[in-house]
């Protein structure tokens, strides 16, 4: 295992410290460092295949690091302390830390064996121990907020992609996460459905103190909601700046060419 490099601190929500991630011989993250403050909205941009999803999956504990450490809320995510030594985290430790983190996927991943309401109440009941009535009340409020109060009893597969993604957002919020990870949540949507999902997210970012780490190709959205934008390429953050600065006067040549390519593609 790797040694912890810095002690946990409370004024950062997410801390990547020299994180290495490999798939076979393919090094996706090479000693990646970055941190996110509580309540910040940070957008991650970068070429396809560069490892943005991998960063979010590591945070969601869907992947394990090959080196370095990740802290969330001052706690190590990948390692736990046992008898004064750091050892790889076990399932119980992970479940306790995972509570703080939610994720919305590109492909929604709603549960097709449950209706919309059950999708949103399942985890609060089973994992947080809420009563069914409390969970249902919470779910109805959230579905109302994402504009789907009339679809409570619907089967998720009968909804449009945009509606499914809004259910997925409500489902993640029902767990009251401190950190919400968004992985290209509008990439699988028909163009006319994108705006509805983004406006819901904007509203959540504005009205809650959730910390966001967001991967997106929607540059206008990123510009509107982000406190900070990180340009990620070849396993490292190559530029990290407020959106006005990064989008108007990128310091790095690779950022410039990437932004050109994205803006050309979206017209």
């Amino acid at each position: 295992m790797s040694e912890p490099y810095s002690s946990p601190s409370a004024d950062v929500m997410i801390q990547f410290d020299r994180v290495v991630k490999k798939f076979g011989d393919h090094v996706v993250l090479r000693e990646l460092n970055f941190s996110v403050k509580p309540g910040e909205f940070v957008t991650l941009i970068g070429p396809s295949g560069s490892g943005k999803t991998t960063i979010l999956r590591l945070l969601m504990t869907l992947e394990q690091v090959d080196g370095g450490t990740i802290q969330v809320c001052g706690d190590y995510l990948s390692h736990m302390q046992r008898g004064g030594r750091f050892v790889p985290a076990d399932e119980r430790y992970l479940r306790a830390r995972r509570k703080r983190i939610g994720m919305v996927f590109q492909q929604f991943n709603l549960f097709p064996n449950m209706n919309v309401l059950q999708n949103v109440t399942e985890a609060p009941v089973r994992s947080l121990g809420l009563s069914k009535a409390d969970a249902a009340e919470r779910a109805r409020d959230l579905l109302d907020m994402v504009g789907l109060s009339d679809k409570v009893q619907a089967h998720p597969m009968r909804l449009s992609g945009g509606q499914q993604q809004r259910v997925a957002i409500a489902r993640a919020l029902a767990m009251r996460p401190q950190v919400l990870l968004l992985d290209e949540v509008t990439s699988a949507l028909d163009p006319e459905l994108v705006a509805g999902v983004l406006s819901v997210l904007k509203e959540i970012a504005r009205t809650t103190d959730i910390t966001f780490l967001c991967v997106t190709h929607e540059m206008q959205f990123a510009r509107d909601v982000s406190d900070r934008v990180m340009m990620f390429d070849k396993g490292q953050v190559i530029e990290d700046a407020p959106p006005e600065q990064l989008f108007t006067q990128p310091a790095h040549e690779r950022t410039r060419s990437f932004l050109h390519a994205v803006i050309d593609r979206s017209g």
């Binding site: 995972r98 996927f105 549960f111 064996n113 399942e122 089973r126 994992s127 489902r171 767990m175």
Partner: protein
């Protein structure tokens, strides 16, 4: 050739006795196949090679050898290791074990057919492994496996005549016994075939009903 329909009719009481034996073997064997198949499927998914490899080998081995060989094997080996059960119980067990190797593949395919994203969403929602299985994965896997599992109950029923090899007399055995007494084989064997046909068709019909109720729902 003279074929007497009355001979078919006369064989029916014996056929019904035999049917009871065949249905008992199928019923017990099927429950074994359903449960053991699921156990095999889980063990083959185990992260420990010490579990998944031997079970994988066992499943391939059983599947690649004839049922008849397995019937003889258990018939002669079980008493040697101190297990004395009736030939019918031995036959039902052998049938169940044999078909468990098929059902385990069905389960495996059904479980693998649930998209990876369902596991990931469950983790992201912090559901426990047990809840993920019971509330997310199996409810999606079961509808995928119901049609194939239904077919195996019929296949299993049609394999019961092989139990004759270990002295279990069901319909075919009954028919041959009548033949050896009366020296007329065609009528009792026709009777046995008729009963197989009717029961297999009935089972197929029931399987279709179950499938319609619990099988894959297209939306």
């Amino acid at each position: 050739m003279n074929f007497e329909w009355s001979g078919v009719w006369d064989a029916m009481p014996t056929m019904l006795d035999g049917l009871l034996v065949a249905l008992t073997a199928t019923g017990i064997g099927y429950v074994i196949a359903l449960v053991l198949g699921l156990v095999f499927a889980f063990m083959r998914r185990s992260e420990s090679r010490w579990i998944s490899m031997p079970v994988g080998f066992l499943v391939e081995f059983i599947r690649s050898t004839p049922l008849l060989v397995q019937l003889f094997f258990f018939f002669y080996v079980l008493p040697l290791i101190g297990i004395s059960v009736s030939p019918l119980a031995t036959g039902a067990f052998a049938l169940g074990l044999h078909y468990a190797t098929y059902t385990s593949e069905v389960y495996r395919a059904g479980i693998d057919g649930v998209p990876q994203g369902q596991w990931e969403a469950s983790t992201a929602l912090n559901l426990s492994t047990r809840r993920t299985w019971t509330n997310v994965i199996l409810p999606q896997a079961i509808p995928r496996v119901v049609p194939a599992l239904g077919n195996y109950v019929i296949a299993m029923f049609k394999d019961t005549p092989q139990l004759l090899a270990i002295t279990v007399v069901e319909m075919l055995g009954g028919a041959i016994a009548i033949g050896s007494e009366t020296f007329r084989y065609s009528e009792p064997i026709a009777a046995a075939g008729l009963v197989y046909l009717v029961v297999a068709l009935l089972m197929a019909w029931v399987a279709r009903m179950v499938e319609r109720r619990y099988g894959q729902v297209r939306v």
